[in-house]
């Protein structure tokens, strides 16, 4: 059980780091159709 807890926790860490890196260092191009509401600020 403890092994699984470690695996899942480190997978969550990997996913979090990947998400943040993609969000702030390699952002995707903004959609052409986004209006002023799509503030893309977060």
């Amino acid at each position: 059980m403890e092994v699984w807890q470690h695996i899942i926790a480190y997978l969550a860490l990997g996913a979090a780091v990947f998400y943040l890196a993609r969000k702030f260092f390699f952002p995707s191009k903004p959609s052409k159709g986004c209006g002023p509401d799509d503030c893309d600020c977060h």
């Binding site: 807890q5 926790a9 979090a16 002023p36 509401d37 600020c41 977060h42």
Partner: protein
Amino acid sequence: MSKDIKVALIGNPNTGKTSVFNRLTGLNQKVGNYPGITVEKKQGICRLSRGKKAHIVDLPGTYSLNTTSLDESVAVELLLNRNAPDFPDLVVVVSDVENLKRNLLLFTQIKDLRLPAVLVINMADRMKRKGISLDVAALEKKLQTRIALVSTRKNTGIETLKQIIEEYRCLSCQPTIDIKTIDPEYFQRLGKAFPNEDLYKLWVVITQDVNFTPLQKKLPGGEKSFEIKSRQELKKLQHKETIKRYQFINEILKESYAVDLKAARGLRASIDRVLTHRIFGYLIFFVILLTIFQAIFDWSSVPMDAIDAFFASASEWVKGALPEGILTNLIAEGIIAGIGGIVIFIPQIAFLFLFISILEESGYMSRVVFLMDRLMRPFGLSGKSVVPLISGTACAIPAVMATRNIESWKERLITILVTPFMTCSARLPVYLIIISLVIPQGRFLGLSFQALALMMLYLLGFMAAMVSAWALNRILKIPTRRFFMVEMPNYKLPLWKNVFYTVVEKTKSFVYGAGKIILAISIVLWFLGSTGFTEDYNNAETIVSDRVAGQGYTQYSKNYIASNLEAYESALEAETTDASRIADSLEARRGDLEARALSQEIASYRLEHSIIGNMGKFIEPLVQPLGYDWKIGIAVITSFAAREVFVGTLATIYSVGSDEEETIKNRMAAEINEEKGEPLFNLASGVSLLLFYAFAMQCMSTLAIVKRETNSWKWPLLQLAFMSTFAYLTALAAYQILA
């Protein structure tokens, strides 16, 4: 199956174009009754009969094809480019029944491009009240088009419009006026130089270039030599064209459109006189703002406390229900604490957008734009800058995009650079938690100090924007010409459906958007706070136990034990008078509290020597003069991604290793400045933090959008350097004075 009909939706600003788009497509795009809501084209699908579909593109509002700003040029460029994938089969021109004459100018121009065009006359439900009578059949005949009389408020006329869209092939493409008549000689030469091109289209291309870029850039077959008139001459021709069109419009409206001017105008004019008055106008606006901030604090305290308590219990429950281990701790101390730090602000965010939405819907916001124009001119801004600045109270990103409807590049650049000073919703969580910690709860004239403090911060942001604009106006040497036109919509009761959608959408975007980042950052922070490679970290338990045995507990633990014992003793004395029983119970309780305190001290020591603790200690010298400790320093750095991450970060840091069921606010209130032995969040450090967040450019996405809008890294980097330095120095001054 036949292909989809491509429809472009165009019209003057504030004619309800986006409402027509929403009715046709069933989407819920943001609707507003002040200009600048649609600054990019939006797209949707409209389902017609027999399985047919229309692909609708909602274009930014424009008064004519003689565009003067970037958002307007988006519309014209699409209509001129037959090769564009969205080039329309049909143009739907949305007009407002009360301003039909002005709206028809754009309609006649589009019709003269020989595009199938249909006229939508919106707000038909107001006709009776406004004494307007309209002969639709006569108008259709004169304009050689089909007309849909629509009320998006009452949802009438939309089916007729859909039917007209389906039958678009039957529409006439005959022009309304003969453009050659404004200067026969010039247009004859133009026709000879470009024999295969439509003359009016050529004319629009030429005048587009007059407004934006060097002449002849986009002329079809531009290689051919063609003597072009000077800018002044072309401007004169544009004026002649406008006069000619209005002559035509007057002629046709004389026979088909009548208004009883006596009807209903009196009341609206009287209200306008008060709301836009030189003194009362500002006073009323000020009172409205104050009421809003008061309500934000008063109405949201109960749900906020409930949410805070819920997350504290959820964290405790997870620890009890799941098997012990790293994942359980990550969920309880990292994820739940971090997310709780953002969810707690839902009530206040929702109330803020509820009020803003009601002000927009009622028509009051346009009066604010008008009022502000007067106020802003001395600072080098115009009333059009108000729209981005007001949007900036929600989020700087759409606000920076909304500057596209500002014609003058200098004004636009200044507005882009100063908008991030406006208090956006991401600052709100930081303000609210700090205000509730350091500003006392008393009242002044019925208004709480905390609401007044929040109001002051909003005003401070606005003043910083104004002063920066004034300085930039003097520094930037960019030639400019300015004019300002704003339409005052009629007052009306808010459409509650729109209000509801705005509140839900804005809150959802805040929570989901910020939530993803906060969740990710919370996970990373928790790992950094729960991992260490030093001897101190690995031997924390022994080191702290030895220290407690030798020197006793820290001041924080002593306070914790004493206050809990005091409360417990009072409860016991209410239950029993048996002194020995009270003494025994107190002794047992003391043992329990001391064990908890020791466990807290070990967790705290471990955190201090974890990876994040070492990082925090490294930057501490930089933030210490502002009254912050290393934990706040970490939160300030992580919140560079987005300001609201600040609270989530602190919630996670304070939760690492903690076994206590405690709310975020209480954890922050209990933090002690170890050097001074006083609460870490006191008036001096609190005000310093508030000022730092009021002025700092803590938002990576805003920098990215400023780069996109200015097409250069120079401006966002200057903005970042200026705002960060200014914020640091202000916070430093505030702390040094107040401490």
